[in-house]
């Protein structure tokens, strides 16, 4: 729940939702059957409750998507300030303004550099931690697990602050891309660890034993048996790590030094020099995110099926 946990927690929840999803699918036939006969003789009070609930759901989804739609629509308004009222005319000029913005491109490269660094550090770390935890039992495992997930329960600003103080004051390393990678990895590795651990729970250790008994070395066994089995979860972890890093703001602002990531750039633009070019950027990022999310969900469902 680290606040920065912001986004991270999101994913933990997303993971929850995923398992919930699977569960629902499993026990649904029974449930659906129970629901149908109840429909036959619904008393008036129930119908009212059901109607209200339906209305609430419609309002809720409107609430979720309407703001995003308004923001997207403002991209195409000629107005210098991003709005949809009044509508002054349709234009695509703001995309052009955006692409000519040199600062934006620099911020984008910074964000990509950080994200690549985080994937390279946090994913192997999460994988290693999951493998280690798997071989531990009892108290040691509980304690280690608690420490590993604790960054997910720490507000993101605090992760940024503690990383900054430690590296700057004790090791004399100033804020910048490197520190941003360190700070973000401390909690993103926890996501990777959770994803790999979830898959390890379904791993049959006999496969490993068999490989070792047949004379494979430990390294061969890892490379040919364990790692291929874990690969889907490692790829998921890499994808999530990249996204989490790219989106991070609360932790990054403390450790960025003089480097500007894309989120920092967007926030500064909103406060000084806001034009619909920011909406154009948001629209592009949202489109990419949604495409990525849908592809991820489809891939996950296909794997499960």
């Amino acid at each position: 729940m680290t606040a920065p946990a912001d986004a991270r927690a999101a994913d933990a929840q997303a993971a929850d939702a995923r398992t919930a999803d699977a569960r629902t699918a499993a026990d649904l036939p029974g449930r659906a059957a129970a629901a149908v006969p109840a429909h036959g003789a619904v008393p008036a009070g129930d119908r009212l409750a059901r109607g209200l609930l339906g209305l609430w759901m419609v309002a809720f989804f409107a609430y979720l998507f309407l703001p995003l739609a308004v923001m997207a629509a403002a991209t195409f308004n000629t107005s210098r300030f991003p709005t949809v009222t009044p509508w002054l005319g349709f234009t695509l000029d703001w995309f052009g303004v955006l692409f000519r913005d040199a600062q934006l491109w620099r911020a984008l490269w910074t964000s990509l550099a950080v994200a690549v660094g985080v994937v390279a550090l946090a994913v192997p770390t999460g994988l290693a931690a999951a493998l280690l935890l798997w071989r531990l039992h009892g108290r040691a495992r509980t304690l280690l697990y608690a420490v590993m997930v604790s960054p997910l329960l720490t507000p993101g600003v605090i992760i940024g602050i503690s990383t900054l103080i430690f590296w700057d004051r004790w090791l004399d390393v100033r804020g910048g891309i490197f520190l941003t990678v360190m700070a973000q990895s401390s909690f993103i590795a926890a996501y990777a660890m959770l994803l790999v651990t979830a898959r390890l729970q379904r791993f049959d250790p006999a496969q490993e034993e068999a490989a070792l008994d047949l004379g494979a070395t430990h390294l061969q066994t890892f490379r040919r048996i364990t790692l291929p089995y874990l690969m889907p979860s490692v790829l998921s972890a890499a994808f999530l790590a990249f996204l989490q890093s790219f989106e991070n703001y609360n932790t990054t602002i403390f450790v960025r030094g003089l480097d500007t990531t894309l989120t920092v750039y967007i926030a500064s633009k909103v406060r000084t020099g806001l034009t619909p070019a920011v909406n154009a950027l948001s629209l592009i990022l949202i489109a990419l995110t949604v495409l990525g999310a849908v592809a991820y969900e489809i891939a996950r469902r296909r794997r499960r099926a």
Binding site: P67, A74, P124, T154
Partner: protein, 294 residues
């Protein structure tokens, strides 16, 4: 450890242990410990570090107590975060209930996807969407004026209301999923039985569904409160001088006031506040840490 050695061999075990140790020691534990230590020391020029003045003191913590402006902002942050949590709970409970117990199966998969999509979108961008809506020349004022509810445009941005509204929007999904997961495990027969025995809908919720959903509600509240109290993006974009957030004060200690020791003390206070809230929720909802961790 011996099991690891047997399964992974010496080379792999060494690599695994080294990476994990780096994460735990260098990235998690040392920074946290040193931040706390740092917060108990006075700010000194480099020449005086390690000297007679470099001792542990509570002075940085006393500042918060003595500075009425900071204390006010601290209390307002707690109060506003609690309000965000409560509003989010009110918005999400019916949604979670619908998804877990009412929605037909065919629709559930679509609903899930619709819920998850905004979740993937950057917090900053979702906040920015509200900036556009709440702006002085924005659609909210236009709609309200067209409806005749207000005579002239209002300044929404920069008010505490705008920050709270934005936070509810941004953190809504952290509340939906834990509650959904909890209600989803409730056997529908329990609801049917309560209804057959003549219980009204409010009573069924109060006596059957809510007690069952306790751990989910507790987790949702903890997540939302922590995200709200620790948020920097939302108050920075939607807030103003009258709605300053405690995280903004912390940020200023670091990058404007230049007193990191003081900033570290405030950060630690924020952390203690969040941990305190977890304990309060566990007590209030009578759930153990194990139940919450699920």
């Amino acid at each position: 450890m011996r099991a690891a050695l047997r399964h992974y061999g010496p080379v792999l075990t060494a690599a695994i242990t080294a990476l994990t140790a780096f994460w735990i020691v260098v990235l998690i534990v040392l920074p946290q410990l040193l931040m706390v230590d740092f917060s108990f020391r006075p700010m000194l020029p480099p020449s005086k570090l390690g000297g007679p003045e470099d001792v542990h003191t509570l002075r940085n913590y006393a500042t918060l107590w003595g500075n009425t402006v900071h204390r006010g902002i601290f209390l307002q942050t707690i109060w506003a975060s609690a309000l965000v949590t409560l509003s989010t709970l009110a918005v999400c409970y019916p949604v979670a209930f619908y998804m877990a117990q009412v929605a037909p199966r065919r629709r559930l998969a679509t609903l899930m996807l619709l819920l998850v999509i905004p979740f993937w979108i950057n917090e900053l961008l979702r906040t920015f969407a509200w900036y556009v809506i709440l702006a002085y020349n924005g659609p909210l004022n236009a709609v309200l004026m067209t409806l005749g509810l207000i005579d002239e445009p209002q300044r929404w941005l920069g008010t505490p209301g705008a920050v709270i509204l934005g936070m509810v929007y941004v953190y809504v999904l952290f509340m939906v999923f834990p509650i959904y997961n909890a209600i989803e495990t409730l056997d529908r027969a329990q609801i049917e039985a309560a209804r057959d025995l003549g219980a009204s809908w409010p009573r069924i919720h109060w006596r059957v569904v809510v007690p069952h959903a306790r751990p989910g509600i507790a987790v949702g509240c903890v997540m939302t409160f922590m995200l709200a109290a620790g948020s920097y993006a939302v108050p920075a974009i939607l807030g103003g001088p009258s709605s300053r957030w405690f995280t903004e004060i912390i940020y200023n200690w670091f990058f404007e006031g230049g007193n990191w020791n003081q900033g570290a003390a405030y950060a630690f206070i924020l952390l203690v506040l969040c941990v305190g809230f977890i304990l309060l929720m566990m007590r209030l909802f009578r759930v153990g840490i194990g139940e919450m961790a699920k």
